[in-house]
Amino acid sequence: MEYARKPDPVDVLIVGMGASGATAAKVLCEAGLTVVGLERGPWLRPREHFSGDEIKFLNRTYLWSDPRVNPRTVRMDDSETAVPTPFSMVPQMVGGGTVHWAGWLPRPRPSDFRMRTLHGDIEGASLADWPITYDDLEPYLSKVEWAFGCAGLDGADAHEPHRSTRYPTPPAPPTRAAKRFYEACEKLGINAMPIPQALITRPFRGRTPSNWTSFWNGYGDPSGMRSSTLDTFVPEALATGNLDLRSECYVREVTVGPDGRARGVVYIDADGREVEQEAKLVLLCLGAVESARLMLMSKSRQFPDGLANTSGQVGRNATFHEYLFAVGLFDDEQPLYGFPGNYISGGSFQFYETDYDRGHIGGALIGASHVGQPVNWNFPGRPAWGGAAKDADRDFYNHAMKIGHTLHDMPVETNRVDLDPEVKDAWGLPAARITHKAHPNDIALAKWQVDKNVEILEAAGAWKTIPVYLERGRASGNTCHQHGTVRMGTDPAKSVLNEWCQAHDVDNLYVLDGASFPTATGVNPTLTIMANAWRCADYIARVHAKGREERLPQDRPTTAI
């Protein structure tokens, strides 16, 4: 191993420059702190590198993390040997999951922060309240929506919680499939609305809405219409002059000093040299799988079971939001067109809150969405070859729509990320091993909601419907949503982080990605992740960096749910 000269120490070191890392970098750099950002993936330039190439973006891992470089293994329980499986392969790059995403930007609901208070102990689950409430996060949800760029329709969501601001720009125009969705919802008495989305539809902070290609979900956007941290918060942080962003630098360990505090990190740079970078503060923003993996790889005399892991909770309670859906095929003369639009066509929070009559707790945000581009369009069970296959595409490509939801899965202590004993990544480091078995509530919720989605498709006039359930409780890892592996909480014996996402064990270590979520929430997590990162970075700049500390009183008044 070759070693590079040791760079000067900095105020703050951020590992991972995706949704949370870039948000924290912006807040801290603008507050005047010096920041080094380390990103293991590339730093691509949207206007030069992104275009509507389905093969490259959806079939050949240009953005997706390549399973041969970064393998993951999966098993359902401890009795199985984990098998290499591409599971929740979030792109590893500057901008992270905000580069390829469709841009779902719904707000969480007050109930998401109080699952244990509302439902008590559910057998087999490890429900926990968040140490923060919707009210604590609300100002930061607004900050993100306005700084990042968001499209939504004021007053359309009958179930919307308190908002202190309006939406920055109106929603994208509806598609023909969206119209069909709205009509079906009206027929069934369901309140549908455009799902808040990370894009701009009017000139906004130097950006213009100009990508009408519909190469959207899974693709990088060359135009800047979509909000990604690669195109917004990263350049804004750089503009302060306080950010030193180093891409293709792979952190393999967080180092610990004799005092048990984080000293910095060791990383392997693009040329294969090992570099040690020291900092006063270390922020982990790698995503819930990789942050937990890095903590478990960072073993020291003080932390033989992994960094900040005296509770033994690092890696546990992982939740993954399996995407479940139903596709409807139509036989109308007029095409419905399943490919135009910006992926999301409309949605509803009607089924979000618990209704015990359904036989499960929690619920879902449903969304009507693209079936996609020709190679990979979503027709589960499509005939694979021959005349039947050709007819299936010819007859239904422009006559299909999909209604889906991400599963608000229960935290389970044994569902976890740890280090695979056998499988190594391209650097020879242990792969993340995922042990995950769906809780019975997950299976029940998935079934009820998919059936409801079928009902809506039928009301929309579908000729045939194809439901996709959570079969046998085995999640496929088909979303990039990851949470819960490094939970925040008030009790250091049962959680890893406090309410500022600061490690109970290590006061200069923070984990700002979805790993901190005590429960999964039922919404796409990125807005919550970014708002929470902003909130915690704000605390770091305002309090921690000034040598002080504050606690959030746990008995403060909050809005009733």
Binding site: G41, P42, S51, G52, D53, E54, I55, L58, N59, R60, T61, D66, P67, R68, V69, P86, M89, L153, G155, A156, A158, A172, P173, P174, T175, R176, A178, K179, E183, E186, N191, A192, W212, S214, P222, S247, A270, P340, V375, N376, P380, G381, R382, P383, W385, G386, G387, A388, A389, K390, D393, R394, Y397, N398, W427, K464, I466, V468, E471, N478
Partner: protein, 236 residues
């Protein structure tokens, strides 16, 4: 090592009239071409043969210089680093998968009909494909419910595919993928299903290609969303 953002553009887009072979032997080319023509057959519309799906597969298997087109379609990216290593290994595995697959097609064809796969009738070729896939030839979509459908991933990786599954996936990609990769000749795949598709990848970068006409042209949110009629909000 060259960082991914600086990978150079090499070669040119695949010439739609090219018939040279970069990986397959002549016999392999003919065999795979015949097989793709049973995966997406020619009827009153063009099929995989007219789209030149076999050339798409040949280029893909030829090494790592046809894996990623340049964003604007002016050529291909020359990879380096760990991702290049991963692709070299993946392509080597796929080359082996196809070499063996062609031998197996011929072996089944020989045992069943006494000739190479490429010389068989359509029905005989279908019989061989049924054997190699381990399942009957798919039947048309019917309205009745199917057995539980499998889930989907946003992305689709090539690792671990059997020969038959790789052939199906790559025929589809060669029929519907951007023509820069050597398939979808004359955009026939897109025409068959009514997908407009860009004239070039560059057109998807600068606003030239737009499907804005496929969105609703005239709409009123309050007509679509009854709740807005109560709140009086949502004026466009």
């Amino acid at each position: 090592m060259t960082s991914m953002a600086e990978w150079p553009v090499v070669l040119a887009p695949v010439d739609p009239d090219a018939t040279d072979r970069l990986f397959f032997t002549d016999h392999e080319w003919d065999t795979v071409e015949a097989a793709t023509a049973r995966i997406i057959p020619t009827d009153h519309d063009p099929g995989a043969r007219e789209a030149c799906a076999v050339r798409f597969i040949d280029r893909f298997l030829s090494g790592t210089d046809h894996v990623y087109a340049a964003a604007d379609g002016s050529g291909f990216l020359r990879m380096s680093g760990k991702l290049a290593d991963a692709w070299r290994a993946r392509i080597a595995d796929l080359q082996e998968t196809y070499r063996r697959g062609v031998r197996e097609l011929d072996a089944i064809a020989g045992q069943s009909f006494g000739a190479d796969f490429v010389s068989l009738t359509d029905e005989q070729q279908d019989f061989v494909l049924e054997r190699i896939s381990g399942a009957p030839k798919p039947v048309p979509v019917v309205r009745e419910a199917d057995a539980a459908a499998p889930t989907i991933q946003v992305y689709a990786f090539d690792d671990g595919l059997s020969f038959f599954d790789a052939l199906v996936a790559h025929t589809r990609q060669g029929f519907y993928g951007d023509p820069v990769y050597g398939g979808n000749r004359g955009r026939v795949g897109w025409d068959v299903i009514g997908f407009p598709g860009p004239a070039s990848l560059k057109d998807t970068m600068d606003g030239t290609y737009s499907v804005r006409d496929y969105y609703l042209q005239e709409y009123d949110w309050a007509e679509l969303i009854p709740h807005l009629r109560q709140t009086g909000d949502g004026a466009a």
